[in-house]
Symmetry: C2
Subunit: 439 residues, 2 copies
């Protein structure tokens, strides 16, 4: 974390949109750079000052404005914590359309600014679809009010979309209207073992067909991931102890009728066993077991974090070629490190991690730029759900062509002409991007 | 339709993105305005030249590039017809995430440029969520390639979002990658009668809770709409003939297990009858009857079109206050015209129509600007899913504040500095917008 400077930065904690507006107006007039900060749970340094930027903490903008149980629309300020919002809408029979490991401290404004993914993405999709309206303070302090609560609206350009995933570099999100789906009445989970990655894909295809509308998560772990989590934490136990298989799937269903869901799930499992797609499986018998299954999945990134050196990649890769990259990486680093692959397979999102006892130039040069080059060759993305922040800004060219990066720069220049908003993030400094191509 | 001029306009029919690029480069250098045209099924004149704009027909850009049955991603050119795409992806067990009356001739590029809604919106959401990638030719002929096929990608600004719903005023969409959900194995429909609008809302709330993940459409019609469709077409028959009720609902379910869906639907109907939310209901007994139910709904706009004078409004209104606007309108116009309200209630989308034998200044002045002012007071949108085009551009101020309109103008100026792309659409001419407010 030596990359992060600015620990002595000034931090301001506005309580209202009006205060955020005055702060930005002041900073813009005086050419003072700012970095918006939510729950500070980001993984690419997007909310951390690089030099002497002023931190604008959104923590006090934490009011729930309204919840409409009929339309399912929540309106709240940016500093609300995701878990608190999920608890709050639960009282109206609703659920937040996203869920992620950091839910206990991440802010909804940060989620929106990162375009965070997580485990409900497979079923409920992107925040570009779920966010209905935003209030945003622009670089010059002007308040852009597109905080509509309407499911449909085609009056002009959908400006709010610009700020979803912009990591605070185009404006500061101060409030949002979010469409929340009905909270499922029944949840079920199963933990499956597959002999090969192609069997994992076969299982996914079958789950989409047989479970259809109740499929709510399809996470995979390789044996290395599972062993790491089980080996690190006493409370993480495999429901299939001693299984010799290379791959494991945590599949979740959510629905409105427990009997129906159980029937669908068991018919799916029977067929998947019979076809050989899966070689073994355990079904959660109650809510405690369901949580225990999820604990395995959540234990993987936690266990990785206990290592002294961690190379962490959040990639989108077409599903059919996804695991090849993990195998190639493992072969490259050999005994120098421990390589694991896991993630949101249903969304084509691979978390590829290489951990070791210490960073070394040799190891680094085996991993990078290989991991980015290979991802680009496969037509993937070098950041699926974590954003670019300061750590990955220079990698944008692996996924986006020069026509796209040029237009992003133009958008940035148009909305933040002085460049005061979260500098050094998302877009690489000019000169650090690959040379323009003809398009 | 006298408003539409330019009938003698030149039309070009490019076959490739490269040709579109050369056309725009040529036009931009010579200050020639263009209007992109898809299936020409828009309802607000968005694809019709106003003066002497050159029509760029997208009809020959009609190639399906790829379909990945595993990820559900379709990649195709902009001129593909929606119905053809739905038939094509059906062979892979997939379904287009949108469906609308004009599907037999509308183009997917036009759908994306309008951010079209339709009857699957309730379940599958906005194109801002379903469209994964776009290829767009910018005003100067440059090709913006963000035609990614990935479900998740957070590398920089999500530029494609700018062009979804921009009605061809920021760039010409030439190709798209679209996420298609699994095609449901079972469909069911029921036609319900409700005594009051608040019972319609009660029924909707109950349907969301009881039917949950299988609810795929919730359309409402008032008695005037139903009578009009039944009275105009011999093949449109009410499944509840002689029903005295004021309101009707067409509710559709889609799922992966017919028995489960039937069980859920019947339990819901029984409870809704018992609670008095609905007073009567008919369930489609087979696919033919299901189509006959949808024929009623589709018959309403068709029957409205047979009238000599039609005032047509596509509004988003919070559900609880939606029908009050229809009642107010009916009271205002009295015997001078016939007022109907119907639409996608599940999405808060009201189609309010006033039809008469002839246009008259008296009638017009009773309707406008009342309908827009009232929509604004209710926090609604004056265009839910049809766009603004040339007919509604001047109304943008009823839904969007001046900070938003100013930023839209800035975005337009940035992407199309010479203003050659679909002029006179979406944004009102300067001077025709309400005066700036402080924000």
């Amino acid at each position: 974390m030596g990359k992060y400077k600015g620990e002595g930065s000034l931090a301001v904690r506005p309580k209202t949109t009006e205060e955020v507006s005055r702060i930005l107006k002041h900073c813009n007039e005086r050419n003072l750079a700012v970095v918006p900060q939510g729950g500070n749970t980001g993984l690419v340094g997007g909310s951390v000052p690089v030099f002497d930027e002023i931190i604008v903490s959104m923590a006090r903008l934490n009011e729930v404005k309204s919840i409409d149980p009929l339309s399912g629309v929540l309106v709240c300020q940016a500093g609300c914590i995701l878990q608190h919002l999920d608890d709050r809408v639960a009282k109206e029979g609703l659920m937040m359309p996203l869920d992620l490991g950091a839910k206990g401290s991440c802010h909804i404004g940060g989620n929106i600014s990162t375009n965070a993914g997580g485990i409900r993405y497979l079923r409920y999709g992107s925040l570009h679809g779920s966010v209905l309206g935003l209030e945003v303070v622009l670089a010059n302090g002007e308040v852009l009010d597109v905080l509509q609560s309407l499911r449909k609206d085609t009056t002009g350009y959908d400006l709010k979309q610009l700020f979803i995933g912009a990591e605070g570099t185009l404006g500061l999100v101060t409030a949002a209207a979010i469409h929340c789906p009905p909270r499922p009445k029944a949840k079920n989970a199963t933990f499956l073992a597959c002999a090969t990655f192609s069997k994992v894909l076969e299982t996914f295809r079958k789950a989409k067909a047989d479970l259809g509308e109740i499929l709510s998560a399809f996470e995979f772990l390789d044996k290395e991931s599972l062993d790491l989590a089980v080996g690190t934490y006493e409370d993480v136990k495999s429901p299939l102890p001693g299984s010799p298989e290379r791959f494991y799937v945590l599949l979740e269903t959510s629905g409105s009728n427990e009997d129906h869901d159980n029937e669908k799930l068991h018919a799916f499992l029977e067929a998947a066993l019979e076809s050989g797609a899966i070689s073994d499986g355990a079904v959660a018998q109650d809510g405690t077991q369901l949580k225990a299954f999820w604990r395995i999945r959540e234990g993987v990134p936690e266990a990785l974090n206990t290592h002294k050196a961690m190379y962490k990649y959040d990639l989108s890769i077409p599903q059919s070629t996804m695991y090849g990259l993990v195998e190639d990486m493992r072969a490259r680093v050999g005994d120098r490190a421990y390589t694991v692959g896991y993630g949101h397979l249903g969304d084509g999102n691979l978390h590829l991690n290489v951990v070791a006892d210490a960073y070394s130039e040799e190891l680094t040069s085996l991993i990078e730029p290989f991991v980015y080059e290979r991802t680009a060759e496969l037509g993937g993305s070098v950041s699926a759900e974590h954003g670019l922040g300061q750590m990955k800004a220079d990698c944008i060219g692996y996924t986006k062509g020069d026509s796209a990066v040029s237009l992003m720069r133009l958008v940035k220049k148009t909305l933040d002409p002085k460049g005061i908003l979260n500098p050094y993030k998302v877009l690489p400094l000019p000169g650090e991007v690959t040379p323009p191509q003809d398009s």
